[in-house]
């Protein structure tokens, strides 16, 4: 069903067409405009993690832990890059043995035929762009996803445990989910018909679920929630959020894998959903607490960015407004109330913003593709059915990521240990783990 739908706009569509099945058709030709855009989109998504997300997070922790967060994000960037080269790209995007509607090992995970970028030459293409660009673009998604999880266990995790967790989670959670959603016909969730243009499921729900589990397994920070733990530098957080917004154009519009109308519309709806969510969070907070805050409005913007992500290739401007408002309001309550109600310490609200925002977006993607100016659903698919497909994919991802994260963390806890000592936590991770201080003022 889906393989013929012109509206199926997930990034690897072109890969699929030119990489395997459609090779017989007219030979793909490189396009310098598409290539130009995708190189820049890659730079923009990298900018989202370093320095974007790093600063967004580092500003929110206490001064004594600011560097530890920057360190974690930077090390993840380096570590995931090398793993991507070694086997990640291959396990995610090797489509050997896949066929639409047939279930097998290859529906879950790719093989090793592209390990160490085997077979990639300067002139290898994916669609109209060099394969080197496609592989690096996808890498930046693989980097930011585990980096997002950092917010959940900030201020208390051992750096060794972080490295081990990220390497394992990347391999056992990120790569399979990416493969299942984006690698093309024959992949589990692709065949199910999930719409996830730029990674609501692959990136945000995936990271958010892992974050919740990690927050619970690691336990609360010393003193939480009694002690005040105000952000040490909201200036850094605002820089980070701003760079996330700007960089997200690469994330969403880049997921068109071309400089075309789909990319343009993805940019427009991204802008609108983000703005709407920022205003929605601000207004809700204003109504509930009496004052609007800058941490609030920027968090609302991030919630909007998260929620529009899966819909950015299919929703229209009006749909974007709906998605933005819903994400702004619901994520506010998730971050401000839910975690307090349940008592877990998801330090920087990875679950409340990324999982909740991602779920809101995933479900509304089903709604907004087919109405409110969206591009329309594949023939024969009703809105209700698409929403069900979206919901199934959400649950599948929550479960896959949650269960495997739990297993990985428990294993690490029993072997190398997850958490710093009480003394280290009191002293702060910067000095305790890295022999450095963030500021010498």
């Amino acid at each position: 069903m889906t393989s013929t739908a012109p509206r199926r706009l997930a990034p690897p569509l072109l890969l699929f067409l030119t990489g395997t099945a459609a090779r017989a058709a007219d030979a793909p030709a490189p396009d310098s405009g598409d290539t130009a855009w995708m190189i820049v989109a890659t730079a923009l998504v990298l900018l989202m993690t370093i320095p974007g997300l790093s600063l967004f997070y580092a500003g929110m922790v206490r001064m004594k832990n600011a560097l530890s967060v920057l360190m974690q994000c930077f090390a993840i960037t380096a570590l995931v890059s090398v793993l991507w080269l070694a086997y990640g790209y291959s396990l995610a995007f090797d489509t050997t043995g896949m066929a639409a509607g047939e279930f097998g090992r290859a529906s879950i995970i790719g093989g090793f035929s592209k390990a160490f970028m085997a077979g990639m030459r300067v002139d290898s293409l994916v669609g109209t762009i060099p394969e080197s660009v496609f592989a690096t673009f996808q890498l930046t998604f693989a980097i930011i996803t585990p980096a997002l999880i950092v917010g959940a266990f900030a201020e208390r995790m051992k750096f060794t445990a972080l490295l081990a967790f990220v390497a394992s989670w990347f391999t056992l959670v990120y790569l399979p989910i990416t493969h299942m959603v984006w690698s093309g016909a024959g992949a589990l969730l692709w065949d199910l018909g999930v719409l996830d243009f730029a990674g609501g499921t692959v990136v945000h729900i995936n990271a958010g679920s892992a974050g919740l589990v990690a927050a619970v397994v690691l336990g609360r920070r010393l003193g939480y929630p009694g002690t005040a733990m105000p952000p040490h530098s909201l200036a850094l957080t605002v820089i980070g959020a701003s760079l996330l917004w700007v960089g997200w154009f690469g994330f969403n519009a880049g997921s068109a894998v071309a400089a075309n109308g789909t990319a343009g519309m993805a940019m427009l709806v991204t802008q609108m959903a983000t703005a709407a969510a920022a205003l929605a969070w601000m207004s809700t907070e204003w109504a509930v607490h009496g004052k609007p805050s800058v941490l609030g409005i920027v968090t609302g913007a991030v919630a909007g960015l998260v929620a529009i992500t899966p819909a950015s290739g299919t929703a229209g401007p009006a749909g974007a407004l709906l998605i933005g408002v819903a994400a702004g309001v619901l994520c506010f309550f998730a971050a401000a109330r839910l975690k307090r109600a349940f008592g877990y310490d998801d330090s920087l609200d990875v679950f409340g913003v990324h999982a909740v925002g991602g779920i809101v977006g995933a479900l509304l993607t089903g709604v907004c593709a087919g109405t409110l100016g969206g591009v329309g659903l594949p023939e024969g698919v009703s809105i209700g059915r698409q929403v069900l497909v979206q919901a199934a994919s959400v649950l599948f991802t929550l479960a896959w990521s949650g269960l495997l994260s739990f297993g990985i963390l428990k294993l690490l806890d029993r072997t190398i240990g997850l958490r710093v000592t009480r003394e280290q936590e009191l002293e702060g991770l910067d000095l305790a783990l890295h022999d450095e201080r963030a500021y010498d003022h």
Binding site: A228, S293, L295, A336, R340
Partner: protein
């Protein structure tokens, strides 16, 4: 000699400094401090985590003076720092054994 220590509101520092200069006080050492007192603090709110910050930024002045000038100093500070609102601060007076100017070795009243 006496050491006069005053805790005042930060935005009053310039006025107090001027008032002290007018009566001929030439030296003051100033520290930024946090004050807990009757004056209420403020509320901060971060993603729904609301908490009351009960300290307030204050400025602490130390002025070493000869005994005769203590009252003048106190008057100068009080005059400039008083707003009549809670939190204006305190003045503490303690006795000072010796004073020495490091540069010259001058002692006590000469050293001020």
């Amino acid at each position: 000699m006496k050491m006069v220590t005053a805790i005042i509101k930060p935005y009053k520092l310039d006025e107090v400094r001027t008032a002290l200069a007018e009566i001929g006080v030439q030296g003051v050492t100033v520290t930024e401090v946090k004050g807990f007192g009757r004056q209420k603090g403020h509320t901060e709110l971060y993603r729904g985590a609301e908490y009351v910050v009960d300290f307030l930024p204050k400025v602490r002045l130390e002025i070493a003076v000869v005994d005769e000038r203590v009252d003048a100093v106190i008057d100068a500070i009080t005059g400039a720092a008083r707003t009549g609102k809670i939190g204006d601060g305190k003045i503490f007076v303690t006795s000072l054994g010796n004073v020495l100017r490091i540069r010259t070795g001058e002692m006590d009243a000469e050293a001020l």
